[in-house]
Structure formats: structure tokens, C-alpha cells
């Protein structure tokens, strides 16, 4: 399959390892990976802040740039929700409506793509650590992703998954929310971290780098004995 990998702006700049891991996994499964360099961002920051016109300008480049793609895989539940769920609303009754709908229908979040579209769960990975999993809100509630990452993690050799009580609670990131309401945002993150620490896991794994940036930011500041890692990086570990 010819796969267009959509790399969210902050993953591109801050977490390239996660994106490179996705490339490695998809190629190892025998697929061709493409990356559209003309696209920088899905437009979510403007969209979530209410500036839909500005968001459309950014998003139009994604919609047009990926028009010919066979399938689009995106390494973030949040940006995945943007393309899959919010583009149709953003472009409703505009000339790009049809193309936006077409893009939405061929866009998959990374773990969802592996499990549901490719039917693959065992990637031959080895990660001898105790981990706990954070469900990113957009992936969980907008895209319905819950079992997919767990099915993948279950097949990782040596890995023990201990669920935390607050697995489905928001980490407090919320894009511009984290900057507009930094203290509420951090308090939410503190709750998440405390719940993760209760499991005594070594790593908090998630499919959303933005959540992990928030969680790691708090953990580092508070010098807590647990680390964050993107699921793709776990799945390429040997």
C-alpha cells in the first residue's frame, strides 16, 4: 500500500523519533511511505481558538496536498480527529467540502490503521518494561480508539501493561487551553501524573505526543521517577 504519513507540526519539530519509528514500522510491513513536505500543520490551533477562516487557509493546503493519496496515516489522535472529524465541518458548504470529506474517509490514526485497517498486532517488538497507557481524549472520544493500542502493546515481548485509574482522564493539554489557563491545565496534568505514578510503571505510553509533552513537562519539573514515550517508539524497540 502507498501510505501518506501525516506528521503533525510539533511531532515534526519536537518528536521526530516518533515519526521515524512510524516510517520504520510501515516500511517493515512492506508498504511505501510518502511524506508531503508542502504541508506544515492541520490548522487545529486556529480552529480550536475559533478562527475558522484562518484554520481553513491552513487546512486547505492539507486537503489539496493529500487529494491523490491512497490512504493517510497520522501519528496523533488529536490531529487525526481534526482531519477525520472536524475537516468536514470546517469545509461544510465550501468549494472544498467534497475533497475534505474524501480526505476524512481515508485518514487513519496510526494505531487504528495498524490494527483495524491492516489487521496487524504483532510487530515483533521487545520492550522489557512496566508501562501504563494514557488515552488521549481526541483519539478516545472523537475517534473511538481504545483497544487498538492495547492490542499492539499486548504483543510486545517483555512488556507489562498496568492500567492506571485515570487512564481516560484528560492530561490537561488541550492546545491553546494549556497556555490560556496554565494553572488549571497543570492541575489536570498533576492528577494524571499521580494516577500514573500509583501504578509504579517505568513509562507512560500514549499515541499522542502533545499529551506526552504536557505530562513529561510536569514530570521533569517535579523530578518524578517515570518517563513518557510514544507508542510507535515502543513498537520499534528490539
Amino acid at each position: 500500500m502507498n501510505i501518506h504519513l501525516y506528521v503533525p507540526c510539533f511531532v515534526d519539530q519536537l518528536y521526530p523519533k516518533a515519526a521515524m519509528a512510524m516510517v520504520e514500522i510501515l516500511e517493515k510491513l512492506g508498504h511505501t511511505v510518502e511524506f508531503e513536505e508542502k504541508i506544515a500543520c492541520c490548522g487545529q490551533p486556529a480552529f480550536n481558538s475559533g478562527y475558522w477562516e484562518e484554520a481553513r487557509t491552513v487546512a486547505a493546503r492539507t486537503v489539496e496536498g493529500l487529494e491523490s493519496a491512497e490512504v493517510v496515516v497520522i501519528g496523533s489522535g488529536s490531529c487525526g480527529a481534526m482531519l477525520h472529524k472536524f475537516y468536514p465541518e470546517l469545509f461544510k458548504e465550501t468549494p472544498l467540502a467534497e475533497k475534505a470529506n474524501a480526505l476524512a474517509n481515508k485518514t487513519y490514526e496510526f494505531t487504528d490503521f495498524l490494527v483495524r485497517k491492516l489487521g496487524v498486532t504483532d510487530l515483533g517488538a521487545k520492550f522489557p518494561h512496566k508501562i501504563t497507557y494514557h488515552d488521549g481524549c481526541h483519539g478516545l472520544r472523537e475517534l473511538g480508539i481504545k483497544s487498538q493500542p492495547r492490542q499492539l502493546l499486548e504483543k510486545v515481548q517483555g512488556l507489562t501493561l498496568v492500567e492506571m485509574k485515570e487512564a481516560e482522564s484528560c492530561c490537561g493539554f488541550g492546545g491553546t487551553f494549556s497556555a490560556k489557563f496554565p494553572l488549571v491545565s497543570s492541575a489536570m496534568g498533576d492528577g494524571k501524573c499521580a494516577s500514573a505514578l500509583e501504578t509504579e510503571a517505568e513509562y507512560i505510553v500514549s499515541a499522542d505526543s502533545s499529551c506526552l509533552m504536557q505530562i513529561q513537562g510536569l514530570l521533569t519539573r517535579q523530578q518524578k521517577p517515570i518517563q513518557t514515550i510514544h507508542i510507535a517508539e515502543v513498537l520499534v524497540s528490539r
Binding site: V7, C9, F10, V11, D12, Q13, L14, Y15, P16, M20, V23, F35, E37, K38, A40, C41, G43, P45, F47, N48, S49, G50, Y51, E54, A55, T57, V58, A60, R61, C137, H138, R141, E168, S169, C170, G172, F173, G174, G175, T176, F177, S178, A179, K180, F181, P182, L183, V184, S185, S186, A187, M188, G189, G191, M213, Q216, G217, L218, T220, R221
Partner: protein, 450 residues
Amino acid sequence: MSQDLTHRAVIKKALGAYEIKRDENRSKYLNWQEARQAASEIKWEAVNHLDHYLLEMTKNLEARGTKVFWASNAEEARQYVISLAVEKKVKSIIKSKTMTSEEIHLNGALEKLGYDVVESDLGEYIVQLNEEPPYHLVFPAMHLTRGQIKEIFKRKLGSDTSDLPEELTMVARNIMRQKYLTADMGISGANFGIAETGMISITENEGNARLTTSFPKIHVSLMGIEKVIPKLGDLAILLPLLATAGAGQQITCYNTMIGGPRQPGECDGPEEFHLVLIDNRRTELLADAEQRDALHCIRCGACLNVCPIFKNSGGHSYGTTYQGPIGSVITPHLRGLQDWKHLSSASSLCGSCTEVCPVKIDIHHHLLHNRRNAATQMPVWWERIAFKGFSIATANPALFQLGIKIARVFQPLHFLVKGTLFDPVRAWTQTRDLPNIPAKSFRQQWKSKQ
């Protein structure tokens, strides 16, 4: 900060017990999702044919001697109650829980005129004594500990008890029982209005609403126009759903249907029953097809109980009658977008509210819609400049690359909003560390891989 943490712990503890009971009772449904769907369809039918069902309900109520008053705003509603109190020479008023009364600021208006107004719902009574607004639309005093309540009673009522709930309840009960006997007007809310039979339905756990609506000579019920439902049978799904979602109960202890004042041959009930139907800009929300489903709300408070913003910042921080996610959705419609748009930004859009809403209101997406409406109608100048810059930078690869180079030198994403109040870095680094910026972006690694 330590004060904050204590407060958060109190809320967490209060909600912990609720969560267990809610999950237990939700699991008794054969299919909770189907129940939500059915409830949502009932409310959809009612809200989309409000004109029809309101007239059917009032016609049936009036046939049994109920006086119906249509209040288009808070002022009209308050004036009606005040005029009635004056006309009937009312002295003492007892109330059962009604958020609509909070919405129209009725207590203050009545007290200003010298009326003795007492809340009979225990939680409401406590916050009334403590001179503060309800903290939560279902649990008004959830932020107070037993120890604090004991102190409030001691200070305001001169009681000298322990902090045992039984003893505290007896203090309130002894006062309340006298009030029921002396009050000449009882004011209640209405959880539902039933068109088919011409009734209002009141849900409660303390029995105080029954006494409030039947002991005094005059009963006044305040009801938002969106509370009407088509049929009596609809309560079969709505009452248990409200109880489970709102209080973690299978069904609330008392569910009362009132169809009018005391009828000939009946041995109890008030001589007069007045129903005040309140619009107060609900029809403006009705006119908004996109967010009309916000009128489905049955005020169960489930969305507050799961909301991380509510749990961490508390009910009083909203400054609204209706707190939490649903309050953030409807308050801009009821009280003006300009003054209340900030509530819609105070959300991480996690969607927990929408997930639990028993009548399937698309709550968190409406927060997005409010944000869009606010930005369209009255954009904040620096935000608009920031996002114009954002759209230009990210839509143009060359410019984006340049921006990234600058960002690498300074801080990631800082270039978008540098020097503004919107600066994410300043807000971020107060409590959090920034990730180390890797030497090579994915883009660069991809290029060298090709």
C-alpha cells in the same frame, strides 16, 4: 496553593462516592446508550415543537384552575412573584430547590422588600446561611465539609452540635418544620412539564418539595420553557435517567406530579397554583439550529461531575447560575457572548461531558461553536493577528521553514505569538518544562533518508 489542594480534595472525595453509585446504577440498564438515545429523542421532539407542547400543557393546567404566567425575561418573572406576594399579603416564603429562581435572582429581590425567604433543600439552606450562591446545580453545598457546616449552623443558628450528619440535619429540620407551617407562599421549580396531562414533575430526595408545594396557601412554580415534554409516559425513561446521571441513584426518593391547586373534594394542597414560564432568551437559543440541542438539558449535573475543569477550578469560579460544561455552553446565549465567551475557552475539549450527557447534548463541540462565534463576531485583535500570522506561516512552506529556523534558535512555536499575552512559552514554563528540541526535525531526517 495549599488551600486549593484542600478544596480539590474535598470535591474529589464528594464525587468519588457519586461515581461508584452512578456506575453501579448505570450498569443495571440493559442498554444505557439506548436509554440515552430514547431520552434524547423525547427532548428533541419537545424542543422542536415547543410552541405546540407548551400550549397543550398550559391549556390542561388552566382547565384545573392553574394560573399561568408567561415571563419573557427575568424582570417580568420577578415582578409577577412580587406582585402576587403583595396582593396576597404574603409574609413568609418557603422555597424548594429551583435553579430558575437563581437565574432570575428572586431571593435577593424578595428579601430586599422585607420578605422572609427560606430555602428548604438542605444544601440550598446551607449556602443560603453562608451567603453564597450554589456551588453545583445539583449539589449546592458539595464544597463544604461537615465541620464547616457545623460552624455555619453555630454562627447563624446558635446550634451546638457535633458534625454528625444526623445531628446537623435535625437542626435544619426543626427550623424548617416551623417554616412550613407559617409560610404563606411556597416556591418550587419544575424538573419537567407534561403537555399531555397538564402537570409539572418535581424530583427530590428530602421530601421538602412536597411540603413546600402543599402546605402554604399559594404555590408558585418557576419553569424554563424548555422543560416541557410530550407525554406522562416519557417520565418512565427521564426520571430514572435523571436520577442515575445526576445523583447516582436508581430513582430519586420522591417524584411528585402536580396538576393544579387543591380540587373540590381534595383534602390537601394549596388554594392557588401559579406556573411562571420563563423564556429569558431561551428562544434565542431555540433559533440557533446548531446549538438548539442545548435546550435538551435536564439539569442533572452529570457533565459537571466528570469535568476536569469543574473538578479543579470549582463551581464558584464560573460566576454563573449554571456551572460546568453545560453552563459554559448556554450562558453566552442567555447572558451575552461578549461577557461569557471566556467560559468556552476554559476547556481542554476532552469530551467527557458529551460522553456522559444523558440526553446526548453535543456539549464540547458547542464550546467550539461558541469560540467560533466569538471570533467571528468580535475577534480579539492580537489573537486575530496571531492566527493570521499562523495561517500565512503554515500555508507557505518556505516561510514555515524560516519560522522553524527562528524557533529553533528561540523557542518552539514562540514565533507565532511572541510578546503577546497569548505567549505559550511564558504560560507553559510557569509549571512545566519544555522538551529538548532535537537537532534534526523529521523533515530534515526524511530528506536525508531519501
